[in-house]
Symmetry: C2
Subunit: 340 residues, 2 copies
């Protein structure tokens, strides 16, 4: 109907059947999905038979704008969920995708998003095996929301968890901080500035696989998404009951990102990333892991940025470039609504 989603596309009848068939199933195309059952069935992966563990994760994507330099809501929904699986040191197996679409949404935009999602999924080697399509009345949604869930398998012997940071551990990041957030903000008309910065949105599971292969005993992995490096480190500090001492001059931030942040009065440490990870490991493993990360295309700018310390308050602190010391606190509210 004139190139827009209407309520029949979510109604459970023939119109929906056709949309699912011709748009979603055609794009995601894989054996499990092609069964067209209420659920996708697939074989148990070999690691599970050898003592691995299962993992499951979910995220809703409610971003604005839907398309941004370096990606869109579709690729982001795949990368974000693949990454949350990978942050267990796990191999991602498959994804589900639930779409909540607002009446009137252009079919051409939907197709662009689904194609991008299918591409990201194919590149990552993690198929979208099952999905759902709901349409809400105009004014009761915001274009499109996507909720992806991922499952994966942790290889036997790997035990990565946010509560395993210990005083003395090294804190590494896989690259520059703040690229995603700044790339998205550059697209918001209201902000009216333009940068050449692309989102870092990427699937990190092959990087993680290399790291785990080199050092199975990684303590913590986490991707600094909403709330950026600062928020994520505060979470880990509380979970593990340690302090974290950062060195500002060692934290990689692109000059363009630094510039944009100054313009906007933002701190890049609180700006979202979608293709970076934090790794916390025993100090004796830091060099090996840095080398492995730097050898991977997604870890070229990896750096050692700090150390875990004894601190019953679980504070994150930073020695600034000027030589002072400051607390890197939680974000009280939210800095940047709805960009990831």
């Amino acid at each position: 109907a004139n190139g827009r989603i209407d309520l029949t596309h979510g109604g459970g009848g023939r119109a929906m059947q056709q949309l699912v068939e011709e748009l979603f199933v055609a794009a995601f195309d894989n054996d499990a999905l092609n069964q067209r059952n209420d659920q996708a069935a697939f074989d148990v992966p070999p690691e599970m038979l050898r003592g691995g563990r299962m993992v499951m994760t979910t995220d809703g994507y409610v971003i604005s704008p839907l398309f941004f330099p370096g990606g869109d809501i579709g690729s982001l929904a795949v990368h974000g969920t693949v990454n949350d699986v990978a942050m267990a040191g796990a191999r991602p197996l498959s994804l589900s995708a639930g779409f909540i679409i607002e009446e009137g949404f252009p079919l051409s935009d939907l197709k662009r998003i689904v194609d991008s999602m299918a591409n990201a999924s194919r590149e990552a080697g993690v198929p979208v095996v099952t999905g759902d399509t709901k349409v809400v009345e105009k004014g009761k949604g915001d274009g499109i929301f996507i909720t992806t869930t991922g499952i994966g398998v942790v290889p036997p012997g790997v035990n990565v968890s946010g509560d395993r940071a210990r005083a003395g551990d090294a804190v590494l990041v896989s690259g520059t901080m703040g690229d995603h957030g700044v790339a998205v903000m550059s697209q918001r008309e209201s902000l009216g500035f333009d940068t050449a910065i692309l989102s870092d949105s990427a699937a990190l599971h092959t990087l993680v696989a290399d790291m785990v292969a080199a050092t199975p005993d990684i303590h913590v992995l986490r991707d600094p998404t909403r709330g950026g490096l600062a928020s994520t480190l505060n979470e880990i500090a509380v979970q593990s009951g340690v302090g974290i001492a950062l060195r500002e001059s060692d934290i990689p931030v692109r000059p363009e990102v630094k510039g944009a942040c100054e313009l906007l009065g933002l701190d890049p440490l609180y700006v979202a990333n979608e293709g970076k990870l934090i790794c916390i490991c025993a100090p004796e493993h830091a060099d090996t892991l840095l080398a492995v990360m730097r050898a991977h295309p997604l870890g070229r700018d990896a750096a050692l940025v700090g150390t875990c310390v004894e601190d019953s308050h679980a504070f994150v602190t930073m020695r600034t470039a000027m030589g002072g010391n400051r607390v890197v606190d939680w974000l009280a509210g939210e800095q940047l609504p709805r960009i990831c």
Copy 2:
């Protein structure tokens, strides 16, 4: 802040952390979720080590009203996803839950929904192991949307699929048709009528486990949700390439549901169910399965309602109570927006 959700509750900072901790994690309370990692890790179930297969399914819940006689969006989101896992003949293992909440949504309603969800999950024995919380600006959502994903394991030797119906097979239903849809519609102010009908919303996995234990070779299982019995049978007919011949007088429909449908000009065969299943099996298994179903509290009104027939058009037809024959067609658009 004054009992309503605001944007900070989805912002990734301390306010969100606190909401997640005190509301969601407290209610869903289980070991995997309590790890508080980006993903939940848990052991591989024994069936998988003995040749079982994995299943995954997802559904978004965008219903109105959020509370209805016999349930609410929270219990529905658990039952619906548990059921889609069970319709593979599988044992559900765990759930994820993604929440998209509109700014201004009452915290008391959220708590009621989450508690109901936690109860449904506990009763079913299927934990919510991981979740996500996003808040959208006022006017960009509709109170609350929940997307649940479920995973499960198909016991070795079980092979249930929508393409396995064969001419000659028996078509069974586990109980009365249309209860959920009518219960929900009775709550819509605009319809202004009142019935004593409760939604049938229920988790069917223990019923399925009994059926599979008695007859591992069930051909098809599917829950007739959106679009009701008629739409679901049309899907199966196409998938399997068979016709389906129903007998109207054998299809159980409560008199109150029949009455309400007449009032509203609806056909109960197209009205949604949330605690019923369709089972298609070889004719020689029909009696055993009917007996097993009737012995389970959720299958007391189980009935044999039709037969699969050779038909290259894959039509669903019905011998009416009056003795005529009619095609039970696909729904062109949608009959009842957003009730399941």
